[in-house]
Symmetry: C3
Subunit: 254 residues, 3 copies
């Protein structure tokens, strides 16, 4: 099984699918091809969220603002999963989430690609097919892979000061939900949360507020998110990916 993810939109992912269908016998599953364009960090968040749902697979992911610079092609072993993509941090949070043991990274010798601008087709897809068909051991023995220290990327952690958190908006999803770096457990017994001065009830489900109303909830990624029922949380709270936020948790008085 090979999964595919990129910020290529359409139709460029078709060329990667073609290469993978030609050079491997793997089942292909698209993750997404509208990852936030050239935004390595928000894309890394989405991969870290989606890839752990899959069974052991080769995960090909390309968000690569540095295409054509001398960044390496990377193959990462994370438990029984393999990740293939550019060495720019994109794969790192997902790799850590995919296995208990620390992931191990290898730089791949890639020769001279046919195109200096489409490494998804010319470098990463053939490499993912080779990892799937030959396995990493064979690639290491033939010298195509060599141990490396990959470019690091850590999703920002929130810091707590009593009932307040200094945090960041990690991502805004398609529904407009603004996902912060505050851990979901922080609002387990909260009554209300104030996000940069905007208050909203802390609830378990969207159904707890009326359509059009703001809410704050522990989202499916495990983080506190700022939402509107049947509306857009990013607009109602004035938030965008990358924004610093101050989140104050108010607990019910006993």
């Amino acid at each position: 099984m090979i999964t595919l993810a990129s910020d290529f939109g359409s139709p460029y992912p078709a060329a990667m699918r073609g290469v993978l269908a030609r050079e491997s016998d793997a089942r292909l599953h698209d993750v997404a091809h509208d990852l936030p364009r050239q935004d390595v960090r928000e894309s890394a968040f989405w991969l870290r969220f989606a890839l752990p749902e899959f069974p052991p697979a080769v995960h090909l992911a390309v968000v690569d603002p540095g295409v054509g610079t001398d960044r390496d092609a990377l193959v990462v072993r994370a438990g029984e999963h393999r990740l293939v993509g550019p060495d720019n941090g994109l794969l790192v949070p997902a790799a850590r989430a995919l296995a208990d043991d620390p992931p191990v990274a290898f730089a791949a010798a890639v020769g001279d690609p046919a195109s200096a601008t489409f490494h998804g087709r010319d470098v990463f897809a053939p490499l993912a097919a080779a990892v799937h068909e030959e396995g990493m051991t064979a690639l290491r023995e033939t010298g195509r892979l060599s141990r490396t220290d990959p470019v690091e990327l850590t999703l920002p952690a929130a810091t707590r000061e009593g009932d307040a958190w200094r945090a960041e908006v990690l991502a805004v999803d398609d529904f407009g939900n603004a996902i912060t770096s505050v851990p979901g457990a922080a609002i387990d017994d909260a009554a209300r949360v104030t996000v940069d001065g905007t208050p909203a009830p802390a609830v378990r489900t969207f159904g707890a507020v009326d359509p059009g109303d703001r809410l704050v909830t522990a989202g499916s990624h495990g983080y506190v998110e700022c939402d509107v029922r049947e509306g857009r949380g990013d607009e109602a709270f004035g938030l965008a990916a990358g924004d610093a936020v101050r989140v104050v948790v108010e607990r019910p008085e006993n």
Copy 2:
């Protein structure tokens, strides 16, 4: 075979694909993940249109404005097809179209999902995988399924008064074609149709009018639709999904 449909956009469907790939051996086919957002009725129309093209399969569909309320998870048997999704009417028109015999509905015991907001991943995808792998008989014997009367949803029928129909716009498609609830046969021998006072020729194909011109035709769903050749019918006729319309059929004089 499992088909997937939702209003999730991207990248949330990837988490459902991952769960299905992990918990079943089924081939996966995406139907669409941009069903009209949180619009159960228009989404039900599209499922009723698309699912009958597939061979017997488990059809997973999630458009679920009531996520987190106490609505049930539903499994429906329709001939050799199985449908899995929320009990809000979404699956009902498709289930009726998939078999001659009336569909039979079961509520599923779903335990405590990991997330209160992402039942696509935590409730419906695991349930669809279980239906595929174990079958409904096994699930009934273990008590996970129990007969239920599902929430009803009937696509609105048009009513005829002589040559006039009181109808509704069931859906507007990606091309801007406005699909009404008037049966296509109503314009079999028509020369012209007037939709809320806007006249257009009744034709068999787009090629019968010039680019940019309005037309009314019996569409591929079996309903009368209001179109513009190489343009948007919804704008030219001033129609949106859910609108009530009065459609007058003019026949040629003999």
Copy 3:
């Protein structure tokens, strides 16, 4: 293996997937369903770019502004590949690229399709499934296919006058890169290129200029393209698909 491409957006491609899943045992791979709407020529460019990456397959492609007119359904043999779609030129550039030998075209008898408006579902998908399951020889023997001279379509070539090229914008991709008909080799040793009076450095990779800056490069399709690093080339150069352009190549002085 069957690949699918169309300008249908969503959810109509699901009906084609259903037909193919019902009438064949092929693996299905989506190429794209947002090909430039009703633009046969730009769509033909994208097919010519994407399909040669795939192993031998049946390629179903539908961009069909003439649906409902008397244009034929076409099956084309190109080496071990088969192409199925409307006889409007759409398949021709890809067919030429898929094999060294000239492609051979057949018109298909299609009977009276159920719908005059959705030949993707009612004509082309069943035909692609039949080509996959029965093979072209069987279809020829039963008289369903007959040799034909297909509607021609040739992607426009650029013409050279010294260091200047009269060319055309073949396509604009999702990133805003404007792909011209000038062959990439034309700028192999160039220092600078002027496109309709707008100058830009000729470089091998996006990384050679600063973010936000214009560049001209030999793109992954083999053509000269007008780009902006982390921006939109079509806007910076004022170009759209179909535009005529004059491209002047400046070489470094020795």
